[in-house]
């Protein structure tokens, strides 16, 4: 019973994760020492964390 419950929780968490529009860890990232899945909880903060557009650098030659 306990095993089933854990399996369901794991499945639901993976489902939520895969259905979210949050970023996933790309092929270019190597992670060591921590697990990927707990990041799901903080990924919901995306809108707060990420200003959409910033003038991030400014080579501004005027024509």
């Amino acid at each position: 019973m306990r095993v089933t419950a854990i399996a369901i929780i794991f499945f639901v968490s993976q489902l939520l994760y895969s259905q979210s529009d949050f970023i996933t860890r790309g092929d270019n990232l190597i992670a060591d020492g921590f697990l990927l899945y707990p990041l799901q909880s903080v990924m919901r903060l995306r809108n707060i964390l990420n200003p959409a557009v910033q003038i991030s650098a400014h080579g501004i030659p005027l024509k």
């Binding site: 809108n47 200003p51 959409a52 991030s56 080579g59």
Partner: protein, 583 residues
């Protein structure tokens, strides 16, 4: 009038055209890699040049973008070569630029007609990686060439293009002084520049080629002059100063010599000034704690400031963002150190946890500017963030800048020890919950603070940091090695080698008991990946807690949104687990 600006609408910063104030941004470049700067052909603007590297490796090549047919051509070729940003001749027929293509270590001077890359030719070979092109003389017969040695020593030369004759302008043998941002005057009879010659702070100066006499134009201002910009007609010189981190703007009418402050800038940090060819309008980027960087145009006759961009804040409410407070404390030797403290809103009661975020360089400075998503820690997690400017930072004079050089390295670490004492004395800050972080040199500092004050911090985040100065100097790209030896010491000297071994965090890793997060770009040419890997393995072998995140398509920090987002999420998780103690 139009301008090219750089912003990131999708995954990386790209060039955008803007044709009117607050007009729509038309994205020009759509590269996978970031594109951060551009220079219009100066006579008709039908095309522009830009630089781009691959995966953050900083091996930049020059590209030409034709605005008529939108084609892009690479003007330089080759592997593991760093080409500098091109400087246009006044006629618009040639560019001058630096390149390490000869041997990877020395930066030589080249010229080329961008419309015919086969004209590319070596103008003069130079020894060392610190050479740069500043400006063309008005008749396009001379180049102003700079040689960077350190942040307290550089030199200027005139290079006669036809003969290759190099004429020394600054007296190299007369001791150390720093010269930067040189520009020819309108007649080609002298140059304007910034220097700390005979002063603790940097001033605007003018040198007449005939007499070599140097005249100072900003003597009454007891702060560093940061940037100068000369109008195309040569009649106005605008300059900014860094006054306790904030920018002030001044203008000199060169016909009369009258200087005045232009008090139209909002409080914050400004720079990247560019005059329009009309000699009146000047663009400038402005940033503050409550506003991401935006581009403005200043009419230098009416002093009217007009916003050209309005950056998105992504749901952040400007009025809710913390305004940093200038804080000061005395270090172990009574030297006054300062920094900026962003405190959480009043809804968070009790003593607040603290993140100490140390800048890189070490020749750099934290300023009271927009900290973007780091506001999350303040507004949502109730954490105060302190950005210290330890000894060795810029902005506080030449003497302060030199206080961490060579064998004085760990005195800057003690400045953080004194900051921990200061935090403990504050009624609203929690000395029991402190995290230290930083990038590059700030990454080294995070590791060094973990070595020396492990019982006084909960955890640390090292981003592209140095773990051993000797292996760093061995493995950093060769065009940087000598320039970094000036700061850290020459490891070829056995005594210095031993000293650097003794202070390197890698060799003291057994003292680190706090958890570490290490973040690294796989292609980092400055602090190579090996610095992070060896630290990770050492902590692991010691049985410590270490998280490691590497992006194989990044360099000295993460520039792609997908990667930097992920870094941020990992860091938030690390903070919640180890600083705040969440399960």
């Amino acid at each position: 009038m139009n301008m090219i600006i750089t912003t990131r609408a999708e995954n990386t910063a790209q060039l955008h055209m803007l044709e009117s104030p607050l007009g729509s941004l038309l994205q020009i470049t759509k590269e996978i890699e970031p594109v951060r700067n551009a220079a219009f052909e100066p006579t008709n603007g039908n095309y522009f040049l830009f630089l781009k590297d691959t995966g953050g490796d900083e091996f930049t090549h020059i590209y030409k973008y034709d605005l008529t047919d939108k084609s892009i051509d690479a003007l330089t070729q080759g592997q593991r070569i760093q080409n500098g940003f091109p400087v246009w001749s006044n006629r618009g027929d040639l560019i001058a630029y630096t390149s390490t293509r000869r041997n990877g270590a020395d930066r030589d001077i080249y010229i080329m007609n961008p419309n015919d890359p086969s004209t590319d030719r070596l103008l003069i070979e130079r020894k060392g990686g610190g050479w740069g092109v500043r400006d063309w003389s008005p008749d396009d017969k001379y180049l102003l060439i700079s040689e960077f040695v350190s942040r307290i020593e550089s030199h200027y030369y005139l290079l006669q293009i036809e003969s290759g004759l190099l004429i020394e302008l600054t007296d190299k043998h007369k001791g150390e002084a720093y010269f930067s941002q040189g520009e020819f005057d309108a007649n080609g009879t002298g140059i304007f520049f910034i220097t700390d010659l005979n002063s603790d702070f940097k001033r605007v100066a003018y040198m007449d080629f005939g007499t070599k006499e140097i005249k100072f134009l900003s003597e009454s201002i007891p702060w560093d002059v940061e940037e100068i910009e000369l109008s195309k007609q040569g009649d106005k010189l605008v300059f900014t100063t860094n006054e306790a981190g904030e920018t002030s703007l001044y203008m000199i009418e060169l016909s009369s010599g009258n200087a005045k402050e232009i008090s139209v800038l909002p409080r914050g940090v400004s720079g990247n000034m560019r005059f329009h060819n009309n000699g009146v309008d000047m663009s400038i980027s402005i940033n503050s704690a409550r506003s991401s960087t935006d581009v403005y145009v200043l009419n230098t006759e009416t002093e009217k400031l007009t916003a050209w961009t309005e950056s998105g804040m992504g749901g952040l409410v400007p009025e809710e963002l913390s305004i940093p407070e200038l804080i000061k404390w005395n270090s172990f030797d009574d030297l006054e150190i300062s920094g900026f403290c962003y405190k959480p809103p009043a809804k968070f009661t009790g003593k607040r946890p603290v993140i100490i975020n140390i800048h890189g360089g070490p020749e750099g400075q934290s300023r009271p500017d927009f900290i973007g998503s780091s506001n999350y820690y303040i507004n949502e997690l109730g954490i105060a963030i302190i950005y210290p400017n330890v000894r060795g930072s810029t902005g506080y004079g030449k003497n302060f800048l030199e206080l961490d050089n060579g064998k004085n390295r760990e005195n800057s670490v003690k400045d953080i020890g004194a900051l921990l004492d200061w935090i403990a004395a504050q009624p609203d800050l929690d000395a029991e919950r402190v995290m230290v972080t930083g990038g590059s040199y700030g990454g080294y500092m995070s590791l060094a603070v973990s070595v020396h004050y492990t019982d006084r911090i909960r955890c640390a985040v090292d981003v592209v940091g140095i773990s051993n100065f000797n292996t760093f100097l061995k493995n950093t790209e060769s065009y940087r090695t000598d320039l970094r030896r000036v700061e850290y010491g020459d490891e070829r000297d056995p005594e210095m080698y031993e000293f650097l071994e003794s202070i390197s965090p890698l060799n003291n890793a057994e003292k680190i008991r706090n958890p570490l997060l290490i973040v690294q770009g796989g292609n980092d040419p400055r602090v190579p990946r090996t610095e992070a890997e060896q630290m990770k393995e050492k902590i692991k072998s010691n049985g410590g807690v270490v998280w490691y995140l590497e992006a194989t398509d990044e360099g000295h920090g993460f520039a792609k949104k997908s990667n930097s987002d992920y870094q941020r999420y990992v860091t938030v998780m690390f903070v919640k687990q180890f600083l705040l103690g969440d399960s």
